[in-house]
Point group: C2
Chain length 398, copies 2
Amino acid sequence: MVDFTIQLEKIEQAVGILKEKNIDCWLTFVRETAHNSDPALPLISPANVTWHTALIITSSGQKIAIAGRYEVGNFQSMGIWDEVISYDQSIQPALVEALDKIKPTQIAVNFSESDTAADGLSHGMFLTLQRYLAGKDYMLISAEDVLNSLRGRKTPGEIARLRAAIKLTDDIIDRITGNIKVGASALDMAKFVLGEYEKEGVPPAWDEKYCPTVTVGGDSPVGHLSPSDKYVAKAGDLIHMDQGVILNEYISDIQRVWYLQPEGETEIPAEITKAFNAVRAAIMAAAEVLKPGVQGYVVDAAARKTLMDAGYPEYKHATGHHIGRTVHDGSTLLGPQWERYGKTPLGIVEAGNCYTLELGAPVPGRGYIGLEEDVLVTENGVEWLGKVQDELWVIKVK
Amino acid sequence: MVDFTIQLEKIEQAVGILKEKNIDCWLTFVRETAHNSDPALPLISPANVTWHTALIITSSGQKIAIAGRYEVGNFQSMGIWDEVISYDQSIQPALVEALDKIKPTQIAVNFSESDTAADGLSHGMFLTLQRYLAGKDYMLISAEDVLNSLRGRKTPGEIARLRAAIKLTDDIIDRITGNIKVGASALDMAKFVLGEYEKEGVPPAWDEKYCPTVTVGGDSPVGHLSPSDKYVAKAGDLIHMDQGVILNEYISDIQRVWYLQPEGETEIPAEITKAFNAVRAAIMAAAEVLKPGVQGYVVDAAARKTLMDAGYPEYKHATGHHIGRTVHDGSTLLGPQWERYGKTPLGIVEAGNCYTLELGAPVPGRGYIGLEEDVLVTENGVEWLGKVQDELWVIKVK
């Protein structure tokens, strides 16, 4: 049987957030989820539907599901929804009737230019909703503030699941350390990692074509790219991996770096040590300022400045993102104010948020030093959710 | 290595369809596909992306991909795109520049109230596009006509893959026939089917919680519901299954029905034979009128009238839907003109379309008789893509 503990926690939390933000009603409106689902759906009701389906939560605590005749049973059996309404030819009459009973001033729906995790409503469905509610006074507003807090404030159940996924990944990373060797390609290493995931029965946290990504030596490009057999590890190379798993629906996201030290080398080359220390210092600079009340871009700036002041090029991504049900769990970003990030770097960090802290620096001819830690924001600052990498891991080539 | 044969076929087809429909430019605009993908994406470029990504195809045959720095490599390596453009902070300058070179009158984008498979653009992304193109003369129009033909007209490569998925499902159905017995619950039977899928290394065609759906006897509800251990097969019951697999990215979708004939019964009860014959006749009535040029609702009406004239209740779903990469492959529906189906029943059937023909009738106290066949529309009419069920399958209880 499916366990809806988390969804029950999240729906109660949603009622509180609606009250706090003075929004009467939140509507998740989906259909044919095989084509176009909504990332809000698994948070409140993990189900796939074909027909138009409306999930309504109000600030006064009502929880109403409206679904098609052949699918309504799945919502009835969840024990989540106070009222479950079935329809045949059109959802419009039941939906309008339910909203007319609630009489909301605003209806928050899932669209957002900034927050991908709050942008599950398709444009066609938005047009349908406008058509259904033509002539009514209800104001359709973005649910991004609701979803920002709802996704961002992890419940105890969610934090426990994140810890478990991270713990398992830390264990797998130990096994990887025992397996890295000269002569192995990036592809070989990725296959080893995916083999370990399979043994544990966990899927990769993102597309398995790029999870893990593996950077081997100085020529291997960095990014969400498929590991290739073109890049083969040799003595003197840095090996870098970015990876994570999904365990019990929650993910991990961790970057680690290893150095293949040539036989006879007695000291790690200075440019490698310097880069590692700069990357680690930048992560710690972010952790230092990451606490409730701070805006995302401030945390990003602390890390970014630290790394650039040490003489390294600016990294072209954010310093941190939420983790949760997905790797990029939406809402407030610890990122720079770049256009493509929209308003997310202006969001405010809250207690219960779980973030990555991640960045890196290239070492020409050697490879890439990148670290990524997963953290929980508490009232007092940062708690590391797993092991941290505070020194370069050296594998001696024999 | 990933094989892009189908995508190359579909992109060439798209250029022709844009010419035919006199549309200058088709834009697929996505980001963070883990949250909110677009069903058009796998058709032209199976990739997961995080940053804003624009895929542009023009009626003059240009194929341009614009993607973020860390993801652009995946598009470069596909060999599909003539021009691949990378960006860092915002996709806007590169996107606007590319469109300004094309100077399209209309830009077709993926939204549709009617066709879920043409509705991949989120409302937030639509607002972003409007903002990017503010002050420009380009008209944003729905790509539903483009996608209707592009998804609907199956290429030879796609038809071959559909045939293979259907062939495998027919084989598995034979094994199911050998396994149905008194005392087995709906859940037991579903587990057997999923076990066969696992042996063959194929996932179910839709959510495995409802694929297969299994209806056992007269009390078991019909619909996309999880099979339960509450309904246990006994002599005299009808057993009904709706199922399909995904093989090589293409699906099957087939309904079959069996009768558990009690020991000593010499003739199938008349109400069962009558219902089976009515269901089969309704399917044949649809097949009779299904040819290029006919509107979807006409095909639906032929089947619906046949079944209702035989005295059975009206089924609350469409008689047929496209099959392809997904079970409900969008566009023209062989369905009634109900509000929730939007304009899709008005669409025109084209050669190369692959449809299901499916409907059923309850037999009180016995169960549900439902059949579903997969067919290809040719210039001359219908070609069955697999075995058909033209008689009730009887399992004698000993």
